[in-house]
Every structure is written in C-alpha cells, then in structure tokens.
Symmetry: C2
Subunit: 324 residues, 2 copies
C-alpha cells in the first residue's frame, strides 16, 4: 500500500480510502491510485485489515458431519449462496460425528476469527458447549437440537413428518412397520415418536414385533428389512432414513415382493425405481438459507436479540402406489 501511495504520489491513507470505497476522493487522484494499483498488481490484505478493532474477517464457519452427504452438501450450498451475496465466504469443515474433532474445529474456526459459525452438533459429544468461553462469535445450530441453552436453532419437524407418513400408510394398511437406526440418534428418536403418534391417534399401541432399529449401515438395513419381510407380519413399511429405504428396496427386489413404503428424506433414486418411492422430504435449501439469514441478522443488529428456534415443516411426496 505504501508502494501504491508512492507510485500515485498520494498519502497512504488516501489509498486506504480508495480501496474502502470512501466517497471523498479527488477524481484525478482516484484515477492515479487506480492506475498505480493495476501497475503494481497490488492486492489487499484483508487479514491485516481484520485485526483492526471493529473490523471482521467477513468469513463464516460451517461445521457439518460430512460434506459428501448430499443432505449436508445441499444445506452448505444454500447457506453459501446466501452468505456470498452478503460478502461472506464460508470455511467448511466436517466433524465426522466425532466430538473431539468437532471441538478442535470450533477452536480453529474461532482462532481464524470467523464472524459466526453454523454448526451441526455431532453425535458423539466432546466438551460441553457451555464451557466455551464468552465472548465468542454467534453460533447457529442446525439439524439437531442445540446443545446450549438459548441458542439459535433450526431443525426440521421430524416427528410431524413421520406422523403424517405413518398416518397415511395406516389408513390403508393394517400393520405398518418402523425400519430405522438406533433411537439414541435424535432424528431417529423423533421419527419414532411420530410413528407412535400416528398409531396412538388411532388408539393403538406400538407393536414391538414391527419395530426394527438396527439399520446402522446399508447392509444391516437390508438384513433388517429381510427379517421384517420374512416374519410376514408387516403389511407396509415406514423407513426412517435413506439407508433404511434403500435396504428395504433391496430386500423387496430379492424377495420379489413390494410392500407399500414411505421413506424419510428424498433421494435421487426414488423417482427412478419402479414403482417410484414416496418420501417425507426435508427442505434442505430452506434450512441452509435460513441458517444464513439468522447469522446475518445476528451480525447486523448485533443486539442480544431473543434466540430463534425455527422448526421447518416437511413435505410428504407421494409417488407410486401411495399416490393413488
């Protein structure tokens, strides 16, 4: 910047004003400065600018469990698009559901002076969030309940979505099975509750013989679905996540049957398989976009405004026989 000032024959400060877009600059000088910048190939150092009081890095952290998971990458994409429009860039990192990795990444992000972070709390918990010293940049939790009292949170209505799906299945079919992963996972628990809600609404109880929670991997989901089919009791299946849905489809194919099925979370193959698969769809775009909005709001009016808890509703997408 000194060089630019020398080249243009003005003071350092004038160059600073120029690059910051301050209005009060003599047009002739502005031109000289612009030329000098081009000639010297000057590039601004935002890191240096950001250490001044009142200045920020214009960078936001995004901590998710796995960037390669379409669910999260879609959220990331939406958040990035919105924040980019507002002049922010996103540092994206994957915690791999590991509490320690997550904690380390949070520290790294804070050390890099991010203005805020958007976080998917990992399943395996590390240090409690409440132990993170104030003051720190605003944190917005998404997808799962905040592990911190009174924090901004955006989640989907897992329970309501499951209720709607199971209710629809139960209207036509006697024995609706629940095929999912461990109930110790928040979203699973919620979807299971929704499953129960739908039955209780009809004055029925959950039948343990129809509940399978061992779909930890696609392989196990397949095995669980097979067991369910061979037991012969289930007349319809609610698959509580993508893995379970895919496992059920494979089991159907192998057994040569096809039970009515509704999965949770949409996926590409759902419209390709015949018959097409009905799903409870989450609006990941909306979640990413909303997370960005909440962050921007916190950053704008830096007030200690009331924390926001947003519950995004799900959409039941009926395809195949369920659509009739």
């Amino acid at each position: 910047m000194i060089d630019v000032a020398a080249e243009a024959g003005v003071a350092l400060k004038t160059v600073s004003r120029y690059v910051n877009g301050a209005g009060n600059i003599n047009p002739a000088m502005a031109k000289r400065i612009g030329d000098a910048i081009t000639k010297l190939g000057y590039r601004r150092n935002l890191a240096a600018a950001s250490i001044r009081p009142g200045w920020t890095s214009k960078t936001i952290g995004l901590l998710i469990s796995d960037l390669a998971n379409p669910y999260y990458s879609s959220i990331a994409r939406a958040a990035e698009a919105r924040l980019r429009d507002a002049g922010y860039l996103l540092i994206t990192a994957s915690s791999e559901e590991d509490g320690d990795t997550h904690d380390r990444l949070v520290d790294s992000l804070f050390e890099r002076q991010v203005d805020a972070i958007i976080v998917v709390p990992p399943r395996s918990s590390g240090r409690p969030w409440s132990s993170v010293r104030e003051p720190h940049p605003p944190v917005v939790f998404i997808d799962r309940p905040a592990p911190l009292e009174g924090a901004d949170t955006i989640i989907a209505d897992n329970r309501g979505g499951a209720l709607e799906a199971v209710d629809l299945l139960r209207a036509k079919h006697e024995h609706v099975a629940f095929l999912g992963d461990s109930l110790s996972i928040y979203t699973m628990q919620e979807r299971y509750l929704g499953y129960g809600d739908a039955l209780r609404r009809r004055g029925e109880q959950v039948d343990p013989a129809l509940v399978s929670t061992s779909a930890h991997s696609e392989q196990e989901a397949y095995a669980a679905a097979l067991t369910l089919l061979r037991a012969g009791k289930a007349t319809a299946i609610f698959a509580a996540n993508n893995r379970a849905t895919v496992g059920a489809l494979r089991a159907f194919a192998d057994e040569g049957v096809r039970l009515p099925l509704i999965g949770f979370d949409d996926f590409e193959a759902a419209t390709l398989v015949r018959p097409a698969v009905s799903v409870v769809s989450q609006n990941t775009q909306a979640m990413g976009h909303l997370a960005a909005e909440v962050v921007l709001q916190r950053l704008d009016r830096d007030t200690a405004a009331d924390s926001r808890l947003e519950v995004l509703s799900t959409t039941l997408v009926l395809r195949g026989s369920e659509a009739e």
Copy 2:
C-alpha cells in the same frame, strides 16, 4: 496476550512462545501461563499472526462449480480430510460455472491470504488466468484442463473411459448410440472422442444418426433418449453423463424397453434400478486427495518445481446384463 502475560507474571514473548509450542520454557512458567490462558479464556488471533512475514493463514481455497453436486462435494470432502490432517482449513465456494463470479471469488480468496487454491475452471470464461498478477499463491486445477500454461492439473481420463465402455458395448451390439450434452463442454468432447475412438478402432465411422448432444437438462435428456429409441436404430446406448443416463432410464421405463446401457459417472440409483446400470466410474476421492497432496507439496518445498499433470484412470463398473 498482554493480559495473559500480566496474569502469569511473564513477558509477552514467553506467552507467544508457549502458544507456539516452543520447547524452551521453564515448566513452572508454562504452567502459570496455561492457567492464565484458561482463567482469562484467551483465544489466539491467527489473523494477526498470519500478517507477520513468513507466516501464513493455514487456509486453502477450493473453488468448484457447485457444492451440491455429489461429484464435487465428494472431491471437496476428500481434499478437506487430507488438508485438515495437515492443519489446514478449507474455504469452499461455488462459481456456478460463471466466469465473473469465479474471478471475483479468486480475488476474495487471495485477499483473505489463502495459502493456495484448488480450482475447477468454469465453463463460461471470465478474465484470462494469465492476467492474474504474479506473485500469487499456488493454484491447482482439477477436473478440467488448466486455463494457464504449466500449472498443476489433475483430470480424469474421460476419453479412455468412454473408449473402454463403448468398446465393450460395440463388441456385442451393432449400433451404439452416444447420448450426451453439448460438445463444447470439455468433458463431453473428450467422451465423444473416446466414443469415436472405439468405433474407429473397428474401422467404423461415427453415424450422426446415433449421436445426440442435446441432453442439457434431465428433461431434454429424456426427450433425446425417447427420440433415439423411437428412431429404432440404436441397439445400445452410451450415456455420457449422469443426466443422460437418468434420461435414458426414464425413456426405457416409458417405452417398456431396455437397451444395453453404460453411463458415465457412478450414482446411487445405479445399483437400485433393475436391471442395475453399468457405469464408467471416476474416483472422486482420489482426485480430491491428490489435489490436496499436490497443494501440500507446492507449499512444503516452495520450489518452483515442475508442474504436475495427473490423469486419473477411470473404472468400468459392470452391472446388470453388461456384467454377463
């Protein structure tokens, strides 16, 4: 840091040494400093450290066309994992194939003092790369040829992959059609060349009636596939990208036929559809990982080493009837 030093009763520099893990510190002092840091909730400011000569931001930029695209998010994931192990964080941004957006993001990244950037060159070109002033952080281009002479580049063997697939189809079937997007897209052009290679190898010419390059969207891919089917000439199809493959599958379903098919790029639905779909698979993990390695190598030995051009081979994954 001043506060920490005061609290611990040591000099500023000793605290600096401590947080930098310098060995030569009196254990008693180290303990006092550690306690003071905890007590005060001190967090290091890496931005301030990074403006010192010889220090860097430990941050790397990743510029891709669309984070929500599984192909790119998978690359991003692999690169992130490798770089995280090396102490780097990734600023990820989507150019949306727009040259101007891309150029702006490159500038933003450089201004934020990233140590290097990994770039997917956008289709619509903005400013020429050669006009970007030296010196600038190392740039590694991936997925498409570098728009800059002598730059590190990692691409997949699109041509060879297509050749292999078409060769296999042609061995059993008389008229293999090419279903793809515009040939002005680099990867398409390469795959089309591979298609031609396979035919020429048998002393045949490309039959224009069997070539369709209008699969710009899934809808158009579907329409193009339908046209191909109804013309009745094609006896097998090489679908040059995911969109084309999916379009072909929809057309098959609607017409109640199933031609031998090999797609380019693997996708989840490929194993779910019956019969399963054979594909030419790119190793996105390897591409991301390798991009990270090349970056680290440039950063380590900051030598002006020879530029690397890596061509990753593809894998032909045979499923369904093609597997017989």
